[in-house]
Amino acid sequence: MTGGEATLFWVIAPAMVLGALGLLFAHKAVHAAMSMALVMVSMGVVYIAQQAEFVGVIQIFVYSGAVMMLFLFVVMLVGVDASDSLVETLKGQRLWAYLLAAAFVVVAMAGVASVTFREPVGLAAVQEEGTVTALAREIFERQVFGFEILATLLVISVMGAMVLAHHERLRPVMNQRATSNATVRSMKWLAGKPNPGVYARHNAADTPALLPDGTPTEESVPRVLVARGQVASVTEYAAVTESTDEGNAPNTDLEADSEGEGQS
């Protein structure tokens, strides 16, 4: 290891360990993914430093570029906000995990330390005709069978992913006719749902209409808004009407609303 490489190593190795620790301790999946990406890129750099240029480039392109993006994509799909609860559900899991990990580090490092490695040969000899060429020779001559099998594996995994991600349609698509038929058959909202309420100060789709007895009805608001919890409260406008019409004390907010509405 030359001095330059050593320097690089001492810079980049702590970075990688930090990134890994980030993965371990980050609460949010996105942060974890970002730390992971850091490790991946650094890893690519290390490969290049180790005369494995092709592998390093692939590491950066494929891993950091494709795989990590895929992770981020899924994280987005699942929910960026999703964060881990720090409460451990399995009794003793965390403690044992750290203990075992410590034991592993000690044992593994002791094992590596006890081995006497011979003087590094270096790759200069085998990569005489160029890194990529040498590697290609290796892959397409000696390991071509394994390579083919890997290719098959990739195809199969793609198929598998497609099958898994594909959503089988269980019933036929509801076209307009089917929808109207279903509506009639259900005997509900035959004449269509009520429109959103129209008020003097607000006539957006998020305000519910009022029923004859003065209660607001959620059916008049688009479903999406309900799901998002973005339905506006009727009381907001009722307060205004109350102040303009003091003599008529309302029993409830809603009644007040309706009265106010009627008067205005």
Binding site: M16, M36, V55, F117, R118, E138, L153, S157
Partner: protein, 99 residues
Amino acid sequence: MTLVAYIYLATILFTIGALVVLTRRNTIVVFMGVELMLNATNLALVTFSRMHGTLDGQVYALFVMVVAAAEVVVGLAIIMSIFRARRTASVDDSNLLKL
């Protein structure tokens, strides 16, 4: 300072990856832990390749990457479908291995 330093680094990364797998419950993070472990192994392979002066280690590192990619593809698809079905990405909630 010898090439063994890389091996130590790989060991540490591998351990951290294992810890991630053992302690984190978010499936995606666990998965990333697995990737970290694979990468640590790759690092060791590449280092050994350089030590011995053969390209085998690099080839295997490449192969591991391919396998990992395949694994990621399928694994993430599985995570997606589990998430779709159960609205959660926690490993513990899906103790499907138990009858």
